[in-house]
Amino acid sequence: MKASHIIGIVVIAVAIGIIIVTAGDASSYVTFDQAKEMADNGNNNSIHVVGELPKTGSGDITGIEPSIDKLSFSFVMVDENKKEQRVFYNEPMPTDFKRSEKVVVIGSYKEDLFVADKILMKCPSKYQEKTVNAGI
């Protein structure tokens, strides 16, 4: 067997290994119900949940509760199935949080509370303003 063949086999093996591990480590987008089910089955892997922050008629976001020392906060998020869930985040409120139109929380259930390790925010208007006010 030639050395080049051995190298070829090793390269292919490593590439397949990478794909398999990536598939195994890949997270998934789920709803709160699915996440809860996973946690109840003892699966504590971090997953992604996409949702929005509930708003009152006048556009104020409801359900945000900073801790007394401002070092963490919790909020209510509504997932794509309209299920409301309180989410806890052990960091101060991220900038832009209240303006985000869509929120992705990455984390898992701890009993009845969803604990987020990371929050991603989607602000479509971040780089493109949508309307212009006559005042400016």
Binding site: I7, T22, A26, L71, E129, T131
Partner: protein, 844 residues
């Protein structure tokens, strides 16, 4: 008034750019099919059109900059990316904040490189420039902004679109000629000098990757399979150096400006540049092998083509909107996805088909590379680099798989790994070990003919030194993690081994030392990355023992520290004290206490309440008007270490309404062995309503003490005012300013409420001491008793939540980067000289 001329001119230039690129591509295509003298007229035509093309591109750049510079906010691009207050050097950044501008930048670099190739090349001009012109056709179409009639397909997105055409706002139906007074401004995160130079560097790197690709296609096309590598190699090296520099500038910007606490986050947008760079570096290695031993030609062709395709793929990823939820900083979708896909597929299929057709004609070497040959080890190195890139590419493309599956009607909910840093590190660490070991050992093979005995002799000394050095570092820095020990060992080895080579080479022929220098840089970078990331330590731990939240379990420990103004707290061997808010004056640049200034009607102008000193010198006198950068607030934090030395850090927060609140940037105390990295993670929001306590009244005479919020206060002085800014005082009106001194923890504060009788009515102007959270109002004057009624409201004292991290040896990373770039520079110089020699012989 709408300045429509400049926009129309710009648009005309865009169209000229596209048309001349088509003509240039056509002429050069014909020219490269013909031989000798017959080709000349076509070549001259090609040159003419490409020069015209370059002039038109410069014209577009000029028009767009003219619009931004003159604040023509009737144009969408100027309105959405600039504002009147923006300093000129940041106007340059506005230029590429938007997608259209960044395409323009890329086009500009291509045009410039094309001109350089026309001027420096003799033989390769026609075929290389055909490829270049083709690339330019696709790029120019991205900024065309023309709707094809009948088909209703929009081609490209023009930077010269008017605001009223871009945005559907009610104002435009009543006032079509409405021009906004001011733009919405540049994203404050981008208002940083690194952002002025990082994107152009990166795009120059992108553009440079096209050059070796164009030579490669030219070589395959003209069947000069061996010859293309010589002129392509110096370009590939320049590309590697510039792209690498661009990536690391981005990392440095992230470290200095963003507050996620690091320089690299494995964000898809970062990955999309990192992967092509790894392949380009691999390509450079196989090309060098080919130059010295005529092997690895096929590998070079595959790698050069792959690099270019990966650049296109990363463009597609970041600009088509496909990354959507998985990236924080990809561009918004401008509806260019289809166009980008065609661009990607055209060059991918074109290159693959051309190589497939020519594959069997490619010269090959029959002899098997021995395991003691340098070719073998360099090839292994290139393979490792490719696998390293492949590993990053697979998970980064997850959103693409979802999209493809969607096309087939399958709903896929695959998401990128939740812990990105952990996931990528577990692979990249071991690949890095391999890279380090190979770049240490490979160099010995490069410089000497090796067999078992010679290898043993050359390696003994470096290995011994490596072991000793690594032991010392492990003991001093307390490295315990086995994988880190292996990485450290490999990195130190590559530094030592290449150091030995460097010493040998520099004496004989310094021009050839590029490889050794670059590899020393790589070793140092790995050591810096390992320590600064692996041993980055949050030092602002909450040690109060207080429960952060009832809801959270015990495994959480808060990594932030709440500091009230002037109340010291202990943190990791430091005593921390928050000293209050500061603003920065623009010239000279000084941090000014917010208590020492008074606001005026204009945001960015304030007046000094008292003399403002910096380092003991009076910079501004009382009453001076000072220009400040209004959107920035700095939080003065005093650090005192155990031996009593103290220094101040000023982490920053930007209040920017249009960005939706507060953006924090760190301040860094730099040290040789470690950086102390501090940023605010939460502040008292200036836009939220402050909850003041109920008014408390004090009846006091000047000189008598009273207590507000536990602070000793007394009236110092009372003076009658002749005029107050903004109020007309008549002869009968009375205005009295009461100066109240409050003794804070370590300094005295001054508040000056005003009591006013105007037209027989009482008016009161309150004054606030920001740090202490006290607002004084002069409620009444009792001349008969020589006393005043003073009202005081209090609020929660000023506070800030802080996060601090230690980043050991991060400067080793930056130092290593510098060496890497220097090494590339030496190698470029050498390869360019080779190319020049050949050109003088009429070979290129």
């Amino acid at each position: 008034m709408i300045h429509s001329f400049i926009g129309d001119l710009g648009h005309l230039f865009v169209i000229i750019t596209l048309v001349t690129a088509v003509f240039a591509a056509f002429c050069y295509f014909i020219a490269s099919k013909k031989d000798g003298l017959q080709a000349n007229p076509w070549k001259i035509n090609g040159r003419f059109f490409f020069t015209l093309h370059a002039i038109a591109v410069t014209g577009i750049v000029f028009c767009l900059f003219y619009i931004i510079y003159n604040h023509y906010f009737e144009y969408h691009y100027a309105w959405s990316h600039s504002s009147r207050q923006l300093p000129t050097h940041y106007m340059i950044s506005c230029f590429w904040e938007g997608q259209e501008g960044s395409f323009l930048l890329w086009i500009f670099w291509h045009a410039l490189l094309g001109i350089i190739i026309i001027l420096t090349n003799k033989f390769w001009e026609s075929s290389v420039m055909t490829v270049f012109s083709l690339v330019q056709i696709f790029l120019a179409s991205m900024i065309l902004g023309i709707v094809i009639p009948g088909l209703d397909i929009k081609l490209g997105s023009s930077p010269f679109i008017l605001l009223r055409d871009a945005i559907d706002a009610p104002i435009f139906s009543s006032q079509p000629d409405f021009v906004p007074e001011d733009g919405t401004g540049l994203n404050p995160l981008l208002q940083n000098y690194w952002m002025v130079i990082h994107p152009p560097t990166l795009f120059l790197g992108f553009a440079l990757c096209t050059v070796p690709f164009a030579y490669c296609i030219g070589g395959l096309w003209k069947k000069r399979y061996r010859d293309w590598i010589r002129p392509a190699l110096p370009w590939a090296l320049v590309g590697g150096a510039i792209l690498g520099l661009g990536i690391l500038m981005g990392g440095y910007w992230a470290y200095e400006t963003l507050n996620f606490g690091g320089y690299w986050n494995w964000d898809p947008v970062e990955n999309a540049v990192y992967v092509p760079w790894l392949f380009l570096v691999a390509a450079i290695h196989t090309m060098i092998t080919f130059r010295s031993s005529e092997t690895a030609l096929k590998a070079s062709i595959i790698l050069v083509i792959t690099t270019f395709i990966l650049i296109l793929y990363s463009t597609f990823l970041t600009r088509s909107g496909v990354l959507g939820e998985s990236s924080v900083h990809s561009f918004t979708d401008l509806g260019l996805s289809g166009q980008l896909l065609i661009y990607l597929l055209f060059f991918t299929l074109g290159a693959i088909i051309l190589s497939a057709v020519r594959w069997n004609e490619l010269p090959t070497t029959e002899k098997e590379a021995s395991t003691y040959s340098r070719e073998f080890w360099i090839f292994i190195g290139a393979v490792v680099l490719c696998l390293m890139g492949f590993q990053v590419l697979i998970p980064t493309s997850i959103p693409v798989y979802n999209k493809i599956l969607e096309l087939f009607g399958v709903v896929s909910n695959l998401a990128p790994p939740a812990d990105q840093v952990g996931f990528y590190t577990k692979f990249q660490l071991w690949f890095s070990v391999l890279v380090a070991l190979l770049s240490g050992t490979g160099q010995f093979f490069w410089w000497k003919k090796m067999d078992k005995e010679a290898l043993k002799n050359s390696l003994t000394i470096p290995v011994v030194i490596t072991l000793i050095l690594t032991m010392v570092i492990i003991l001093i820095k307390d490295v315990a993690e086995p994988s880190y020990i292996v990485l450290l060992l490999a990195s130190v080895y590559t530094v030592v081994a290449n150091g030995k080579i460097f010493i040998d080479v520099i004496r004989k022929s310094p021009g050839l030392s590029g490889g050794a220098i670059t590899h020393i840089g790589v070793g140092l970078m790995l050591i810096g990355i390992m320590f600064s990331s692996g041993y980055s330590k949050v030092v602002s731990l909450n040690t109060t023992g207080m429960l952060i939240s009832k809801e959270s379990s015990n495994e959480f420990n808060s990594e932030n520290l709440l500091l009230f103004v002037n109340e010291p707290k202990e943190m990791a061997g430091y005593q921390l004290k928050y000293k209050g808010e500061r603003v920065e004056s623009t010239s000279p640049s000084v941090f000014i206490n917010k208590n020492d200034i008074e606001k005026t009607a204009t945001d960015y102008l304030v007046t000094a309440k008292k003399d403002i000193e910096d380092d003991g010198e009076v910079v501004f006198s009382k009453g001076d008007t000072i220009k400040i950068s209004a959107e920035n607030t700095y939080y003065a934090i005093e650090y005192t270490d155990q031996s009593g030395n103290s220094f101040d850090l000023y982490p920053r927060a930007q209040v920017n309404e249009s960005m939706g609140g507060l953006l924090a940037s760190p301040d860094i105390k730099r040290g040789l062995s470690k950086d102390l990295y501090t940023h605010v993670s939460s502040i008292r929001s200036p836009n939220e309503k402050v909850e003041w306590s109920d008014l408390e009244e004090f009846k006091v005479s000047p000189g008598n003490n009273f207590f507000v919020n536990d602070y000793v206060s007394h009236i110092d002085r009372v003076e009658r005012l002749d005029h107050i800014e903004g109020i007309d005082l008549a002869a009968d009106d009375v205005a009295v300013k009461v100066s109240i001194t409050v003794e804070g923890e370590d300094k005295e504060y001054l508040a000056q409420p005003i009591f006013l009788i105007k037209d027989g009515m009482v008016g009161r102007i309150a004054d606030e001491i920001n740090d202490l959270g006290i607002k004084f109002t002069a409620l009444n004057i009792h001349p008969d008793e020589n006393a005043f009624t003073i009202g005081a409201n209090t609020r929660q004292k000023d506070w800030v939540v802080l996060k601090a991290m230690e980043k050991p040896f991060i400067n080793v990373l930056w130092g290593g980067t510098l060496l890497l770039i220097i090494g590339f520079g030496v190698a470029i110089n050498r390869r360019y000289k080779e190319f020049k020699k050949m050109r003088e012989k009429g070979m290129e």
